[in-house]
Amino acid sequence: MQPIHSTFTVERICNASLATCWKAWTDPELKARWFVADIDGWETLESIIDVRMGGRERTAARDDKGVVHANETTFLNIVPASRIAFAYTMSMDDRLDSASLAVVTFEEDGATTKLTYTEQGAYFVGIDGTIDRTGGIGWLYDKFKQQVEQGQ
């Protein structure tokens, strides 16, 4: 079966400094707060955050139906306080769901910082996951925005 390929972008303007936003994305403890799913009934199985060139991340959680959702990330390009490029896969119960290239850029504009997240994805389960994924990433960056606007 051929994968379905598509691209989407999510933007957030955060009332926070570039330094705060960069730290929230790259500090393992701060990143885990917005990145690791905190959903009622879900159990976190693994949470390895490692934002550096060549670093690999893995997070896994079991949902309320017993399905294990896992994320594997590898970093391809990091320019401090400017951009992060990474590739990642999502799988459910060890079945590959998607593989994506994502780039997030950070631009300071006065007292605010604009994050632009662009994902080019390949979906392997026969349905175009772009809408769900856009929603999921949007939800994560809402949490990110809320966190940095609290100064963390």
Partner: protein, 156 residues
């Protein structure tokens, strides 16, 4: 800082069954022939290693006769024998990052032959590279992949 997000697909029909085409990616000696040894005389291979398994890495470094060096770092993200390979890779020229990419390649039987479809999702960085030249480079490699097969067919 600029980033160009571009996708491209290359489709080839290769006169061999999927398992044998997949071998040209999974077997290091076979892959080296089209992926590394296809380089012209202006290139010298400095390093080339492959660890073909999920989570494994591939690394290559080549020197052009003008003194510049090109390097490739790949990580294999998903492998289904005879069917699919998903990999992430970055290209560098000297110390300059050219690109970050996600590539998928699928192999499907088409009669006696294989339909091989390669799709690259690329972020081309700071105007240092672009999808058109990357595509040209991949077409060159796949010409050699195809040729290697024709050679092995005629010698077997």
């Amino acid at each position: 800082m600029s980033i160009s997000h571009e996708n491209f697909t290359i489709e080839r029909t290769i006169a061999a069954p999927p398992d044998r085409v997949f071998d040209l990616w999974s077997d290091t000696a076979k892959k080296r022939r089209w992926f590394v040894d296809s380089d012209g005389p202006e290139w010298t291979t400095l390093e080339y290693d492959v660890d073909f398994r999920v989570g494994g890495r591939e690394h290559g470094r080549w020197r052009h006769k003008d003194g510049s060096e090109l390097a490739n770092e790949t990580i294999f993200m998903d492998i289904v024998a005879g069917k699919r390979i998903v990999m992430a890779y970055a290209m560098m020229k000297d110390d300059v990052r050219l690109s970050a990419s996600l590539a998928t390649v699928t192999f499907a039987a088409k009669g006696e032959a294989t339909r091989m479809i390669f799709t690259e999702h690329g972020a081309f960085l700071d105007g240092n590279d672009d999808a058109a030249s990357r595509r040209k480079g991949m077409e060159w490699l796949f010409d050699h992949l195809d040729k290697q097969f024709q050679q092995s067919e005629t010698t077997s």
